[in-house]
Every structure is written in structure tokens, then in C-alpha cells.
């Protein structure tokens, strides 16, 4: 079974998105990146993010990730904050340490692209 299936697939994403979004908005290190009026469009993007982090079906390439984040001038602190909030979300949903580790590994695999290194 893939990590995505193990975590519960699309349903798990739906459960996670509001929790994750709330954490991110409350985190002063990164909240300004997500503070858009159109919360629904933001939530759709966060679903895309979570699907990818869960190892689910997506068609983003490294180049897409570079493009999507380039204009934000992100640094290590921003990246760590996102990963921390993601881990805290998964803990809240009762996901095991081991699976959280796998999700963090997926995130780490796109780190250079996201930080435009």
C-alpha cells in the first residue's frame, strides 16, 4: 500500500486541510504567505500541497515547484515551519511517528526546488 493510501487518501486530505491551514495562519513565521482573501482558492492549493506531501497522485514536476515558490523568497525557517505544522497536523489526526517521518522525507525531497536553490 502506498503512503497516500495508508494515510487515508483523499478523505484524509479533506480532514487535514482545515487543521493545517489553521496552524499555518496562526504561525507568525509564515502566515503572511497564506493570508489571501480567497480562502477557498488557498485551501485548494493546500490540498494540492498535502496530496503531494502524502505521496499521492499529482503531476507537479520539480520545475513546477520552483516556479510556484520562486517569487516568495523562501528560506530554511519558512521551510521548517511548514514541515513542523504539517507534522503537528498529522499528530493531531493520529498518524504514526513512522508515517510522519515518511511525509517529512517527501517534503525534504522537494526542498531545493521550493527554496529555489
Amino acid at each position: 500500500m502506498s503512503l497516500y493510501e495508508k494515510l487515508g487518501g483523499a478523505e484524509a486530505i479533506d480532514a487535514a486541510v482545515d487543521i493545517f491551514y489553521r496552524k499555518v495562519l496562526a504561525d507568525d513565521r509564515i502566515s503572511h504567505f497564506f493570508d489571501d482573501v480567497d480562502m477557498d482558492a488557498q485551501a485548494a492549493k493546500q490540498k494540492a500541497f498535502l496530496t503531494m506531501a502524502f505521496g499521492g497522485p499529482n503531476s507537479y514536476t520539480g520545475k513546477d515547484m520552483r516556479e510556484a515558490h520562486k517569487h516568495m523568497n523562501l528560506n530554511e525557517t519558512h521551510f521548517d515551519a511548514v514541515v513542523e505544522n504539517l507534522a503537528a497536523t498529522l499528530t493531531e489526526l493520529g498518524v504514526s511517528e513512522e508515517d510522519i517521518g515518511e511525509v517529512a522525507a517527501v517534503a525534504a525531497s522537494v526542498k531545493d526546488d521550493v527554496l529555489n536553490k
Binding site: 482545515d18 491551514y21 489553521r22 495562519l25
Partner: protein, 319 residues
């Protein structure tokens, strides 16, 4: 680059531009108002091609089947052939029943209920072939059987001042709608409801409150109305009566400044909500009025625990 085919011409769509932008740029007279996918005055009809889903968000099933779409929200990646929709297809005429002054700067217009609607939805009024303005529905169809609008008069405003000044009882308005889903909709009659608005943001909330009571809502309902000054409030008497008659209803008026010492709270609405509701978990929230207000309070209520799909909004975008 995608092309828009319209009236036997083809126009290239610039990066980030909508169908509306492109056709206006080319000199066509296309009606529009809010340009943010709310008022639906820029509806056009698809003849060939496929539409991005957001250009049909909020349209009725029939409108979607007819291929109608909002040209302001349509940024296609491939060619489209489109046609204009005659305003006559979108609007119906409705006679003005009464015009009242609710306070110094707010008018109440009552119109014939020429279609079914839900309190808290809105209509777009066509002022001429290219200009519309949207107003929210403050009445309850089953109870009132008229359309009620609360209009804040903005000095020199095209509709709220210049046009309204000339209106008389019996005049007919061309109206389009109803539009929107900021309505009383819960299958849990004991859910706690929080209704917050500024200025004429009270219009949809007044409708939603009365609709909820009409439908037998049992849970607590807290209506919070904000204004700059205590003298800006309206329908105070009516709302206090509703609260007196229905024990589950609480009405709070909160003004930033209170010079004439009216019976209302003085202070900051956001702070008041935060103090009253440190947790909004499991609540249903309705926010109506200017965009900045809604943006700020929506975030606050979401962070305090309300689910995203339990926060309803009626954003008064300027035309």
C-alpha cells in the same frame, strides 16, 4: 496564446486577462460591475470551446446548461467562441411598493416578489444597458412576500444616490437573480449561529435571522451589528423586539464612537467577538458587509475553530 472569437472577430487573450478584459479592451460594450464573480452582470454565452469551472461558479443549473458564464472570471487556456446575452434574458421587471428612510443615510426599498428567493441572497439591479448594482435580500419570502433592500446612500453614488433620488412608488426596476448562497442552511436546528455585519451588512443578516426563526431554529442566535457611530444603527426597535420575543436570540449593537450615549456597546467589534467567542468550533457564522471587514473576521472565526464551510459570507464589492 488563446483566442476569443466574438462577433466574427478574433482577439488574443493577454496573459492573466479575462474574456471581459479582452473584449472591453477591444472596444466592445459588455455590461459588468463587481468584476469578481459576484454580480453576474457580465454573463456571456459559450458557443464553442470549454470553460474553466470557476467561470460558472454560483450559476444555476439551467444557466450552466445554457452555457452561460461570467466573462470576468473566465481565463481560458484554449480558444473560445462566445456571444453576448441580451439583458432582457437575464432580468425581470419588479414594481416598487414602498420607499422609506430608515435613518439619515439608509433607504429601504420594497419591491414585488417576482421570483422565489432565500433571505440573504442578492439581486443585481440594471440601471442601464451596461451598469448594474447588487443588493442583498432582507425579507423572508414565505412571511413577507416582497423583496426588501437596505441601501446605504453614498453621496453622488450612481445608484444609491443619483438614481434612487428619482425613484417613485410604482416605478419598475429591472432585476436579475436571486444569486448567492449566504442563506440559512443547516440540518442542525440547535447549532449556535453567529451573525455579524457592518452598516447595511445588516440587510442579509436581518433576512437570515428572521428566516431561521421562521424555520424553527432552536439554538442560540447572536446578531452583532457594527457601525462607526451609534447614530448609524437602524431597525434597532424591530431587532430588540425580535430578541424580546425569542429567548434564543441576542442582538448586540457595537459602535466605535458613541457620542449620544445610545443603549449600545462601545468598542471594537473584532475584539468583542473574540471575547464573546474564544472558540467558534461547531458554530455557523454569517459575515456580511465590506470586504476588509469580512476578510479579517473570517480569518479570526476560522482560527477560533469554525469550519471553513460553516462560514458564510456576503461581500459588498463596490461596482
Amino acid at each position: 496564446m488563446a483566442k476569443i472569437h466574438f462577433e466574427n472577430e478574433a482577439y488574443s487573450l493577454n496573459e492573466g486577462d479575462s474574456v471581459l478584459d479582452t473584449l472591453l479592451e477591444a472596444g466592445h460594450d459588455i455590461p459588468f460591475s463587481c468584476k469578481e464573480g459576484a454580480c453576474q452582470s457580465c454573463l456571456m454565452k459559450l458557443e464553442e470551446g470549454s470553460l474553466p469551472p470557476e467561470s460558472q461558479a454560483g450559476l444555476s443549473e439551467v444557466q450552466v446548461k445554457l452555457g452561460y458564464f461570467m466573462s470576468c472570471s473566465c481565463k481560458p487556456s484554449a480558444d473560445l467562441k462566445v456571444a453576448q446575452v441580451d439583458a432582457g434574458q437575464l432580468t425581470v421587471e419588479s414594481k416598487i411598493i414602498t420607499i422609506d428612510q430608515l435613518n439619515d443615510s439608509i433607504l429601504r426599498l420594497r419591491l414585488e416578489a417576482v421570483f422565489d428567493f432565500l433571505s440573504g441572497q442578492y439581486i443585481s439591479i440594471w440601471i442601464d444597458d451596461n451598469t448594474t448594482r447588487s443588493y442583498s435580500l432582507a425579507s423572508v419570502k414565505a412571511v413577507d412576500n416582497f423583496i426588501e433592500l437596505h441601501i446605504k446612500v453614498i453621496p453622488d453614488g450612481i445608484f444609491s444616490d443619483k438614481y434612487c433620488r428619482r425613484l417613485n412608488i410604482g416605478d419598475k426596476l429591472k432585476i436579475q437573480g436571486p444569486i448567492g448562497k449566504c442563506i440559512y442552511a443547516t440540518n442542525n436546528k440547535s447549532q449556535a449561529l453567529l451573525l455579524a455585519g457592518i452598516g447595511t451588512g445588516l440587510a442579509p443578516l436581518y433576512g437570515i435571522l428572521r428566516d431561521a426563526l421562521h424555520q424553527g431554529h432552536e439554538g442560540p442566535i447572536h446578531l452583532i451589528v457594527g457601525a462607526k457611530q451609534a447614530s448609524n444603527f437602524y431597525l434597532v426597535e424591530e431587532l430588540n423586539q425580535i430578541a424580546a420575543k425569542n429567548s434564543q436570540v441576542k442582538v448586540t449593537f457595537i459602535a466605535q464612537e458613541n457620542n449620544n450615549q445610545s443603549a449600545c456597546e462601545t468598542g471594537d467589534l473584532y475584539q468583542y467577538v473574540a471575547e464573546q467567542y474564544p472558540s467558534t468550533k461547531d458554530m455557523r457564522v454569517y459575515l456580511c458587509g465590506a470586504k476588509t471587514f469580512i476578510k479579517k473576521l473570517r480569518k479570526q472565526c476560522f482560527l477560533a475553530g469554525a469550519d471553513r464551510d460553516c462560514i458564510h459570507m456576503d461581500v459588498f464589492l463596490p461596482g
